[in-house]
């Protein structure tokens, strides 16, 4: 074994990712060979971290190999909770824009009322489970050999689509985060402003190509979740007979169609927001919030004066509907 030219620390995540694939795919066998050569250095105690991940000898299985069943089951579970559950909440929240920019803004405010807790919650319950699901998912894709051309059965088509949509959704989420999440600001994105939820999202989603790509992303994510729901039931042994699997597939289809409607409704609703009207509503809500928190409202002369607590004047239904053009809803 050659002494590493690369720092072992920089190689570890790579080795970890490739280890699953290594057992099953000739392409990545090469990667595994590369990884194991690089990691076998004396600078790091081989009995600890390295042994967890690095491709092993036949007599000394790695952590990942020994716990393959557990990892794949956690992968299956993570697709439902928290990743799948997050998708449902996310699409439902966004679809609230159909009830007006005020309705959506109040939900965004609720989420952002978590304050400094929002970032760790996002990472622990959304980003890290997604990254785990994606890492194992890519390893599974790399180890498989789709053959829908030779065996064009419905189940096989769904198998292939599950992998295709997984990769589409992965790329879409990265783009979506760069475009709208504040973390993407450094890359020229981060266009979503939680204080102007509907209007900033409407501006970002306005280009036709963005709308089309979002539709593809949403439909892919919804397919991946609803088909994943069906396979999860088989994986964990919830439905075992062919008849039960057929019934479960109908349930999955209904879930998929409903959730797809919610997701596409949210997209259409967001794109149809009247930006100027929405801004007026959002500024008014922002003013109220600041008053409640005792901060000066933007441009308010009453700086420093603590306002008496008063109920948030949620935008009246009339005000909400003015913010949304009625076409396309």
């Amino acid at each position: 074994m050659a002494v590493a030219a690369v720092s072992p620390k920089s190689i570890l995540p790579l080795a970890c990712g490739f280890d699953f694939i290594a057992a099953r795919c000739s392409f990545s066998r090469l990667a595994a060979v590369l990884c194991s050569r690089h990691v076998a250095v004396d600078r790091i105690d081989p009995s600890t971290i390295t042994r967890l991940f690095v491709s092993e000898s036949e007599s000394n299985p790695s952590f990942v190999t020994r716990n393959q069943f557990l990892i794949y089951r956690l992968f299956s579970l993570s697709g439902l909770v928290p990743v799948g559950a997050f998708l449902v909440v996310h699409l439902l929240t966004n679809a609230s824009v159909l009830a007006g920019p005020g309705a959506f803004q109040s939900r965004v405010d609720l989420i952002h009322s978590l304050g400094p807790l929002l970032v760790p919650i996002e990472w622990v319950f959304i980003f890290l489970p997604m990254l785990f699901h994606a890492t194992v998912g890519f390893a599974i894709i790399a180890g498989g050999l789709p053959n829908v051309g030779s065996y064009p059965y419905a189940g096989n088509v769904r198998y292939t689509l599950q992998r295709a949509t997984g990769m589409i959704v992965f790329a879409f989420i990265i783009w979506h985060l760069i475009q709208l999440h504040w973390m993407g600001a450094a890359l020229g994105g981060g266009q979503f402003d939680p204080h102007h939820a509907s209007s900033s999202a409407a501006v970002a989603l306005q280009p036709a190509i963005v709308g089309i790509l979002y539709a593809v992303g949403i439909v892919s994510a919804v397919f991946h979740l609803s088909n994943g729901l069906w396979t999860l039931g088989i994986t964990w042994g919830l439905w075992t007979s062919p008849a039960a699997m057929r019934r479960a597939s109908w349930v999955s289809i209904v879930v998929g169609v409903l959730l797809g409607g919610v997701g596409l409704g949210a997209l259409v609703g967001m794109r149809n927001v009247n930006v100027e009207d929405a801004k007026v509503i959002e500024d008014r809500m922002e003013g109220v919030k600041r008053m409640l928190e005792g901060q000066p409202a933007a441009g308010s002369p009453a700086a420093g004066v603590r306002a008496a607590p008063q109920p948030i004047s949620n935008p009246s239904p009339a005000a909400s509907t003015t913010g949304v053009s009625t076409t396309g809803i």
Binding site: R66, Q68, F69, Y151, G155, W236, G237, L238, T240
Partner: protein, 291 residues
């Protein structure tokens, strides 16, 4: 080609059917690890032919379509009634038993030609003969048997109800043909070549280790469920569950469900897999809390 047609004319007393030629394209390979190549054959049509009888004619002619003298195409077969599982090959691109691949039906699908290829998930020994050691290694891993060996007579085992028999019988018809594995997108080829300086024992060990890293396959999971449902077989149920949840176990299943679609014995393989999934769930939770 014309030559052959004339010959067959003479042989079958000028019957009109004999004018027909069945064109066959075979993917051949002379030895393990060598390049494969296509070879065309023209076989005089006979009524009620199957792919095996086509291969028998090809062997008898020892001549390709362009008249070259060639070695007969090698293939595996035994029972000729779809119970032994030895003649699995890719007929027109799909895995199936050659003995029940009837030429008349194949010509309905594609009148131009019949395409024969060896299974793609197993190492080719020669032409259409493949090495299916891995199929049997997987059965060994899941202990697909009822353990009754001992030094004294254990007496008769528990009775099995007719309902249980009815559930078990379809699973017991598995003939290890490998169709489910060939069609499975999660089952990938594992070919280990013996090194020059390697003993047979070392090679066998290395090959088994390589097999064990890959997916065990639908057949083995189904057999594990068969023997776990048997009153005597279930005495080592935990050992089987341990095997199907180890590396390459049931977790590798991607639910494409091709296995059940191609199974020549119509074994409810996906039901077995889902039941194994359920058993594995319960077993894993028990293991977590009982240790």
């Amino acid at each position: 080609m014309i030559q052959i047609a004339e010959k067959s004319d003479a042989a079958s007393a000028g019957a009109k059917e004999s004018d027909r030629i069945v064109r066959v394209r075979v993917l051949r390979q002379d030895a393990p690890g060598q390049e494969s190549y296509w070879e065309r054959h023209a076989v005089p049509y006979e009524p009620t032919m199957n792919v095996i009888s086509i291969l028998q004619r090809i062997a008898a002619m020892a001549q390709s379509q362009d008249g070259r003298h060639v070695a007969p195409v090698a293939w595996d077969c035994n029972c000729l009634e779809e119970v032994c599982g030895s003649c699995t090959m890719l007929v027109n691109g799909r895995t199936r038993m050659a003995c029940t691949a009837l030429v008349d039906k194949l010509l309905e699908e594609n009148p131009e030609e019949i395409e024969l290829k060896p299974m793609s998930k197993f190492p080719v020994v020669r032409d259409l003969v493949v090495d299916r050691q891995r199929v049997f290694r997987a059965l060994e891993r899941v202990k697909a048997w009822v353990p009754v060996d001992g030094s004294y007579d254990h007496g008769s085992g528990p009775r099995i109800s007719p309902d249980e028999q009815e559930e078990a019988y379809p699973l017991s018809t598995c003939m290890s043909c490998g169709c489910c594995l060939e069609a499975c997108p999660q089952y990938t080829k594992s070919e280990v070549v013996q090194r020059d300086d390697e003993s047979a024992e070392d090679f066998d060990k290395r090959r088994k280790a390589a097999f064990d890293r890959g997916f065990i396959g639908a057949h083995a999971i189904s057999q594990a469920m068969l023997f776990n449902s048997h009153p005597t077989g279930k005495m080592i149920a935990d050992e089987r569950l341990k095997a199907i949840t180890s590396q390459g176990g049931i977790q590798m299943c991607g639910n494409a469900q091709n296995c059940v679609a191609v199974c020549p014995k119509h074994i409810p393989l996906t039901r077995s897999i889902a039941r194994a999934g359920r058993a594995a769930t319960v077993w894993a939770i028990k293991k977590l809390f009982d240790r």
